[in-house]
Amino acid sequence: MSTEQNTPTATTDQAATAIRKARGALTRYRVLAIVTGVMLLVLCVEMVFKYLVPVQAVIDYMGWVPFAHGWIYVVYLVTVLDLWAKMRWSFGRLTTMVLAGVVPVMSFVLEKRVHADADAKLVALADRYGV
């Protein structure tokens, strides 16, 4: 890290790299937030047919759903942890992002806000470092 001045600085190259990596993490998070949100809705449908109005044909057809959601959620968590760590956000935000993968519809709503926040930060950073 370059430390020629008293305030910590970074070269334009370093900034460009960091911003590009953060953008990548942001995109991965967006994809997984949407996929997880959709899988969670499918899971809700499956649970309705399993526990509220049992329909054997549907249960047979959808047995893979809880399993798939579980593992997609694992991948979602990877993208959440990656983005959250990169963006240096607070622990409160980590909690909401982790929860969003298991509360129906929440991941869609939160993804919008997270994306806007991250975008504002990255645009401002690009501005500051002249990327």
Binding site: P8, R88, S90, G92, K121, A124
Partner: protein, 307 residues
């Protein structure tokens, strides 16, 4: 932050700060909860398997013996859930085809199973189950256990004529156990396993993919007390329980979450080593005493210094 250029601190110097230790503790707690949930999933897997097995056993016990023809046709693949099911069948023993299965223990004593072909004459379907086949089928019947390759005549003697046989079903074995069997000059021929494919060559006609472990017959064979073969226990499924694989994967999932917690902490420490500073809650709530949040850059991002 101080005005001095931040020197890169060691992992240990960053990691042992009270704040980082609290974070580690919380993450480890989360990991422990995940680990515990994983163990719970495994327990549930076994519990479910045991319950299912018990339930099945009770149901089969209650229903009593069924006609063999209602359960299984000759040359039909043996469905696993029939293991231990009691079946009734009528036929004639063929003592000339009788064999001893070597290397089988009963109550820890190594010995032999008495394996006798039963030519089926009535399986409850009136012959319909072998109407398309070359003739009446043969069912391998394990009549009991003996401790010697040359047992007394009572053990080898079978009831003559038509016999009503009741026994527990078990899947025919494979011929995987290789190696030659020794000659048995003083008794019936020896075999390594009860394999329908091999027995079909020795005994004529169609054969079942199962064998029966005798529970009773009418007329009865000589009792164990008077020299007859000793009765065997009810066969059970290999491995005993059919553990739910899905629960195993759920358990694995929880353990993966636990690993994430630890990996995340290492990453936090490394970012701080590089001069990063994490956003605090009050950064976003200026009224609580933090700075005004009019700068979207805030604490920056990983790979860049926190201003």
């Amino acid at each position: 932050m101080s005005d001095a250029p931040p020197a890169r601190r060691s992992f240990w110097a960053v990691a042992r700060q009270p704040r980082m230790l609290v974070v580690l503790l919380l993450l480890l707690l989360a990991a422990a909860v995940c680990g515990r949930l994983g163990v719970w999933q495994i327990d549930r897997a076994y519990e479910r398997a045991n319950l299912a097995a018990q339930q099945e056993a009770v149901e089969q016990e209650a229903s009593g013996p069924a006609e063999l023809g209602e359960l299984l046709a000759p040359q039909e693949a043996f469905p696993g859930e029939l293991v231990g099911r009691e079946a009734r069948v009528t036929g004639t023993y063929e003592p000339d085809g009788q064999m001893l299965v070597a290397g089988r223990s009963l109550d820890g004593v190594e010995g032999y199973l008495v394996l006798t072909p039963l030519r089926v004459s009535d399986d409850g379907t009136g012959g319909a189950s072998w109407a398309e086949l070359s003739g009446p089928p043969v069912l391998p019947v394990v009549r009991g256990w003996v401790d010697s390759p040359a047992p007394g005549p009572a053990a080898l003697e079978v009831p003559a004529g038509e016999v009503d046989v009741t026994g527990w079903l078990q899947a025919s074995e494979s011929t995987a156990r290789t190696g030659t069997v020794p000659d048995n000059p003083d008794g019936p021929p020896l075999t390594q396993d009860i394999a329908a494919s091999a027995l079909a060559n020795t005994w004529d006609g169609p054969i079942y993919s199962a064998y029966a472990v005798l529970t009773s017959s009418d007329p009865a064979q000589p009792a164990a007390a008077s020299g007859g073969p000793a009765p065997l226990p009810r066969p059970v499924l290999d491995g005993g329980t059919d553990v739910n694989l899905q629960n195993f994967f759920y358990a694995l999932q929880w353990w993966v979450f636990g690993l994430f917690a630890v990996a995340l902490w290492v990453r936090l420490v490394r970012d701080e080593m590089a001069g990063g500073r994490r956003e605090r809650r009050r950064d976003r709530h200026p009224r609580e005493g933090g700075r005004r949040d009019d700068d979207p850059v805030g604490t920056g991002i990983a790979g860049l210094p926190s201003s």
